[in-house]
């Protein structure tokens, strides 16, 4: 019932907000009123030269609901890619496909191909456990374990057996906290509960926890939405530093944040990947009407 209503609403919204740019040849024609249809082709270059991850024709269904529609996208090495779009367009869903977190949702079904360094991560034979160690995830709300700061960081390395001795573990903990810019603030109270930190510190703790298992790709789903501007600035700074060693995909609702931290931006709309391109290009010269409307604040 509720789902159906929502769908109807969206269709109407779509119809109203015109799309006239299916082929991508004619830029910014304001005429026409067709919704994006199934063989819509993304505008901009979805492929890159040295992809870390590469998605081809990815579809996601929640039961009957088609949440991600035929998305092709590469995620480049040592780059930050920002995913933006109106609420409910499928950003989180797409992000969760990249480390198979959608497996934890019973009704969720993913088709298509997603490769991480040439390995198909939806291959039946693939074990998700090492995959998730390679593709880490930071969530919207800071969610430290109700354990000490030290144990929060040590959790991952422990379960993956990354540290042979206590000394090594100590080192991993220190290194991860240092990379997340938290070491100076917490080094004297590693045995205190992680839940006792401030929101911004908690989020950096979660990032440190993700770094501790030494992933190749880090997925972040609105990592700053629960933080104040100062904490946000710190996390953004951190993302910029992490780019040197990691590949990062970040979902955000803040245009400024996307513009500040990312090199590439992908705009999603109702399950479609509408446009993707260099962040500067997307924000200064969007090619699709929907993208333009969104980033200029006329919609979403």
């Amino acid at each position: 019932m509720a789902v159906r209503d929502e769908e109807n609403d969206m269709t109407t919204a779509e119809t109203v907000i015109a799309d006239a740019d299916l082929v991508g040849a004619k830029v910014r024609s304001k005429a026409g009123s067709r919704p994006l249809d199934n063989d819509f082709k993304t505008i901009g270059e979805v492929r890159v030269n040295d992809p870390r991850m590469s998605c081809t024709d990815v579809n996601v269904f929640y039961g009957d609901k088609h949440a991600i529609k035929h998305v092709d996208l590469d995620i480049a090495q040592n780059q930050v890619i920002a995913m933006i779009g109106p609420s409910g367009c499928g950003k989180s869903t797409f992000l969760r496909c990249l480390n198979r977190m959608n497996d934890t949702i019973d009704i969720c079904n993913v088709t298509g191909e997603i490769r991480l360094d040439e390995v198909d991560i939806y291959d039946r034979k693939l074990d998700v456990v090492p995959l998730r160690a390679q593709v880490g995830m930071v969530f919207q709300k800071p969610n430290p374990f109700p354990k000490s700061i030290y144990e929060n960081i040590a959790y991952g390395p422990r379960i993956h057996g990354l540290a042979a001795s206590r000394a090594e573990l100590d080192e991993v903990v220190e290194r991860s906290l240092a990379k997340a810019g938290l070491w100076e603030e917490v080094k004297d109270r590693l045995d205190q509960p992680g839940t006792g930190l401030s929101g911004g510190q908690q989020q950096r703790l979660c990032i440190a926890r993700t770094i501790a298992v030494d992933p190749e790709v880090i997925l972040m789903d609105e990592p700053c939405s629960a933080l104040d501007p100062i904490a946000t600035a710190k996390v953004e700074e951190l993302i910029d530093e992490l780019r040197e060693n990691y590949t990062i995909a970040i979902v955000t609702h803040s245009m400024q944040q996307a513009a500040r931290v990312s090199q590439r931006t992908a705009y999603f709309h109702l399950g479609h990947l509408v446009e993707v391109g260099d962040t500067t290009q997307i924000f200064t010269n969007p090619r699709h009407k929907l993208t333009e409307d969104y980033i200029t604040g006329r919609f979403g």
Binding site: T104, V129, R132, F139, N143, F145, P146, I159, H160, V213
Partner: protein
Amino acid sequence: MALLTLMAFAFYLGRRRSLTVVGGRSGVKNLHSLPAYYGFYTALWAGLPALLVAGLWLSFEGSIITTLVVDGLPAEMRDTDPGRLGLLVNDIKNLASGNIVSAHVDETMQRAADHLNELRSVGRMALGVVVLSIALAAGALAWRAIGPKMRARNRVEFIVNGLLIASSLIAILTTVGIVLSVLFESFRFFHKIPLTDFLFGLEWSPQIALRADQVGASGAFGAVPLFAGTLLVSFIALLVAVPIGLMSAIYLADYAGPKLRSYAKPVLEVLAGVPTVVYGFFAALTLAPAIRNLGESVGLVVSSESALAAGLVMGVMIIPFVSSLSDDVINAVPQSLRDASYALGATRSETIRRVVLPAALPGIMGGVLLAASRAIGETMIVVMAAGLSANLTANPLESVTTVTVQIVTLLVGDQEFDSAKTLAAFALGLLLFVVTLGLNIVALHIVRKYREQYE
């Protein structure tokens, strides 16, 4: 019955009047409260005072009538001692209601009985009249008072509030009353037997106290063996219930699909609904002999009533307490913590072992303590399966006895009410109460703490 009709009628009238005074439906917004509240207001006024009077009347009617009847008796019959008089009155009452009487029926008695009947019917009539007229009068007063300014809603809520308070007071006062009575009887017991003997005595043999020359023989009322027995049985029960309950809770919360869960959980909870007597004879008739045979086949001496049998069955009984509460707290562990763990590449069992269980542990502890207090207070199973002999032993194959069993045996049968033996039951009850109350408080405290943590 008549009163209910009257109240319904009053509701209708009150509602209608509220509408009339403001000039029909369109004037409703001029009323202070919704029309229905005026209806309730009138109905409550019609009902409550009348009910109150009826209640008082009925509780005093009996004694007043008896006094009247006694006054009506000839003087020489009245001047006997109270006991005989009581008997006589009883006879008269029996006669009046047409039952068999013990004494010979003579003229005066017959007359007294008739008198009684007469009084009773008059009483009934009067009651009816009084109650109905009170209802009518009060209802009419309330009805007249209705006007647009009257704050009927507030008054109705006030009365309802009062009713609710009264009900909860009854529950609380009953509890307090029970505790006080147990407390007083226990004091009387501790007059006869010193508290220290009771708490620290190692021997329990209340039978000795029955013999006249040894009343209050010291050392016979040591509660230690009983508590040891209780603890042994409860411990065995927890040994069964905690692992099984916890694991089934984990399975239900994290592994089972929603469909299986919706069937399995109620089924598991049925265990809690089985009457304990049924568990009791299962333990006594099926399990205990089986254990004994098993024990003998490997050369162990097992008494036919063993702590083991009682403990095992009691464990089964309290499984649902553990599993249901644990399931709740495990479910209350936020999904975000599980996601965080999965996102780090942890498997499901690692996540449960290292994240979910530690986070849920306080809540689980609370559940276990509640189950323990349930086990300690359990009576029927141990009465039937654990035996009566107060052995101070840690061997689960011997028969032991528990506090509850002893209370039952002390009070079963005809006893003098003030012998140390019967009073001991109250002392045991008090001690048991204190222990389980303590456990409950601690458990609830832990559970509450735990809830706060995730709010």
